[in-house]
């Protein structure tokens, strides 16, 4: 029986109609035998536009629809919903893309574009003629969430989700929560202390009945798919029984071993048994076995001796924990560009050249200098203070091409705090552009420049070298065109933000993708900014791209609300446009199992054939192309359909 098809051609304002003669296309298509209705309209996606489609389906009893408009990634969903409202199966509605693939690219060839639009519509009609009505696949979901990373992004997402009533597993690889925010002194643009606000949130996480906090722990393995992830977590041995430990700190006081603290950026020392930072959350110490004398040669038991609770447990072993969740948030954060790779500006060689986080520790009241700004080399107060921005950022030839986004504002904050503490000192800030694009930032910047007398010098620094106990900085002030030189006492480099260590491996485990710099990629930069390209994996914070605390918190909350929407039902509906196997043809060679990037193909041993895991299949088609027997096909994109579509073009 012949179908009764409807074709709806959109003008998209002048986007399509300015190039394609939509009226003549509608007329010609209308003459095709099984096309019962063919029309055009200025904006099909608008409500009156959709009404035209709904009315036609009802009045002409259509049983297939082609909307010729923009890319299906824009409005396929819109039109499928519209046809469904009239009782039509949504998978009998297809999009013919005549904007991105026709009118936009052929603006100067109007006649040919019109003909091409016609052919695209005819090809899509061929597809619709053979489309099957399909139903979405329903999958049960686990309503718990894994959050990877206990910085401000992970903390925010966890709290939001837990407050929404969802159980959260929060994973942090360091000994305590806080991430880089725990290292900061004050935050721009209000100069609020960073630690107190963070500490409150961290305590809330620790006490929340819905949040299971695993510090000093890592994700070892992930299996499964959106709604049903199976995890293996590794909780590293802390050698301290956390149930017995009261956090009294006697062990720390008595530990004889000290080593340079990474948290203090190498400027302070920590003990072999220690917390990450004072009053950390959780406030339980961890024994660092590579530094502890008990573990090196068994020569010291000091902590065990002094502990009043007998909480020291040298025999503790790593624990493997199995968990199940429905969604995963990746909030892995950032690092600053490493010293070893910079090889410029004396970084790593001259002790009075430090980076932004080291300066943060210096101006933090709980830092290695108790908040005093002093030269690391001799402890003197620096009077000539140079700040260099865009170090390894915005440098596509040698380092990172992107803007690290936080440096402009934190440098202004650093210079302000410096000037408050050393009123007779002079800060010089070398910059290329000052980017102050969020609420209150520009005002903060201008106010501090005027009030504190911060001297901004526009130009890159060419060289930094040690000279007679000072750090000589050669640069230029492009505003006067003059070369400038400062014999500085100290230099702070605003080095580029890079993704934190190990993100690539983690992304591989999660089957999420990273860009060439290692930042996790989002599904769509504008429309799906917190979803990764893998379903069920969500992003928050600097692991996705450099951002400041305000943006990180906003993104983490956005992620949490997206997940709450995902988990708000018991069943998850999946797109049915996936692969299926003709069991009579499949020879069980297993090529598809190896080729599938989503682990959606599996051998069924007793029948000797390969099957499709419908919840995992993303419909990419790799198995179809690789099958030597043509045993698998994609739903509604069968070989038969594709050949018929191609025929219309030839």
């Amino acid at each position: 029986m012949k179908k009764r098809l409807g074709v709806f051609i959109c003008h998209c304002g002048v986007n399509i109609a300015g190039t394609v003669d939509v009226k003549s296309v509608a007329e010609k298509i209308g003459k095709i035998e099984d096309v019962a209705h063919s029309t055009d309209y200025i904006y099909m996606c608008s409500d009156p536009g959709q009404q035209i489609i709904r009315d036609a389906i009802r009045e002409k009893s259509l049983d297939g629809v082609v909307v010729a408009c923009c890319s299906p990634s824009m409005h396929e969903n819109t039109f499928r919903k519209a046809v469904r409202s009239q009782g039509m199966n949504p998978y009998l509605c297809e999009i013919a893309n005549i904007r991105e693939q026709c009118s936009w690219v052929h603006q100067k060839e109007k006649e040919e574009a019109t003909q091409k639009a016609e052919e695209i519509i005819q090809a899509t009609l061929e597809k619709v003629r053979k489309n099957d009505p399909l139903e979405a696949i329903s999958v049960a979901i686990n309503r718990r969430v894994l959050v990877i990373g206990g910085g401000i992004a992970g903390i925010t997402a966890s709290l939001d989700l837990a407050e929404g009533g969802y159980e959260v597993i929060l994973l942090e690889r360091e000994e305590a929560l806080g991430g880089h925010m725990a290292q900061l002194s004050r935050t721009f643009p209000d100069l609020d202390p960073a630690f107190s606000g963070l500490h409150l949130k961290a305590l809330e996480v620790e006490k929340h009945p819905k949040i299971h906090l695993y510090c000093y722990s890592e994700l070892e393995e992930v299996k499964g798919y959106v709604g049903n992830f199976e995890l293996i977590l590794r909780k590293k041995a802390t050698s301290v029984n956390e149930k017995k430990c009261t956090g009294c700190g006697l062990c720390i006081e008595n530990c004889p071993v000290e080593f340079a603290s990474v948290f203090e950026r190498g400027m302070g020392m920590r003990k072999a048994i220690d917390t990450l930072y004072p009053s950390s959350v959780p406030n339980k110490p961890v024994i660092h076995r590579e530094h502890c004398r008990f573990f090196i040669d068994g020569s010291c038991h000091r902590c065990e001796e002094v502990c009043p609770e007998k909480a020291i447990d040298f025999k503790q072993e790593d624990e493997r924990i199995l968990e199940k969740v429905g969604a995963i948030v990746v909030a892995t954060g950032y690092e600053l560009y490493p010293k070893e790779k910079l090889g410029e500006y004396g970084y790593g060689e001259i002790s009075d050249v430090i980076d932004g986080i080291a300066f943060e520790r210096m101006i933090s009241p709980n830092g290695p200098t108790k908040g005093k700004i002093i030269r690391p080399s001799d402890g003197k107060v620096p009077k000539e203070m140079v700040f260099i921005q865009c170090v390894a950022s915005r440098d596509p030839d040698r380092y990172m091409p992107y803007c690290s986004r936080i440096c402009c504002m934190y440098t202004a904050k650093h210079a302000t705090i410096y000037k408050e503490q050393v009123p007779d000192g002079q800060p010089y800030i070398f910059y290329m552009d000052v980017r102050s694009d969020c609420k209150g930032y520009e005002e903060f910047l201008q106010k501090t420049i005027e009030e504190k007398g911060l001297l901004y010098l526009r130009g890159r620094v060419s060289k930094v070298f040690q000279d007679d106990g000072r750090v000589r900085v050669l640069g230029v002030d492009t505003l006067t065109g003059k070369m400038v030189e400062v014999a500085a006492d100290m230099v702070v480099l605003a080095t580029a933000m890079i993704p934190s260590d190990g993100v690539k491996d983690l992304a591989a485990k999660l089957r999420a993708t990273v860009d060439r710099h290692g930042f996790l990629t989002e599904a769509h930069i504008k429309l799906y900014p917190v979803e990764s390209s893998t379903k069920g994996i969500y992003l928050a914070g600097c692991g996705q791209s450099p951002k400041d605390i305000s943006d990180t918190v906003s993104q983490a909350s956005a992620t949490a609300s997206k997940i709450q929407a995902l988990l708000s039902t018991d069943k998850l509906l999946q797109d049915p446009l996936i692969a299926f196997v003709d069991e009579g043809i499949c020879s069980g060679c297993g090529i598809c199992v190896e080729i599938c990037p989503y682990e959606a193909r599996e051998m069924e041993p007793h029948r000797g054939i390969s099957v499709v895991h419908s919840a995992l299949c993303q419909g990419c088609g790799a198995c179809i192309a690789s099958c030597p027997n043509n045993a698998c096909e994609l739903r509604n994109a069968s070989a038969n359909q594709v050949i018929r579509m191609l025929d219309t073009f030839i």
Partner: protein, 137 residues
Amino acid sequence: MKIELTRQKVHNEFTKKVELISGQNLFACYQCGNCTAGCPVSFAMDVGPHEVIRYTLLGLEEEALGVNTFWLCASCLQCTSRCPKGIDIARVMDALRMVVLRKKERRDHIQIPEFPEGFLERLPQIAFISGFRKFLS
């Protein structure tokens, strides 16, 4: 040319004097150049007003005072009305003239006794004042 910046040189006594006379904070200038862009005489100036402000802020007295910019300034106040940071640039130009005048080093200014008799009386007051403010060079 290379200059060495120190905290004594940058924003030095000269800068502070200009700021005191003009009542303006030169750190407020973010070098957008709108003053120079709108100045009706900038075409004839050695450097634009924004550059003079930059030299002054950096404490480069010779560079700031060695140009004809503030002598050509007609005090039309275009720059002042255009400045997005609210800096009264015409006042800064005025202050620069004052700094030169107060040095009393130059002797090439107009000699008042040599004016023809009755000339001063015939001058409009505004011309008289601006003439005196700018009667060097």
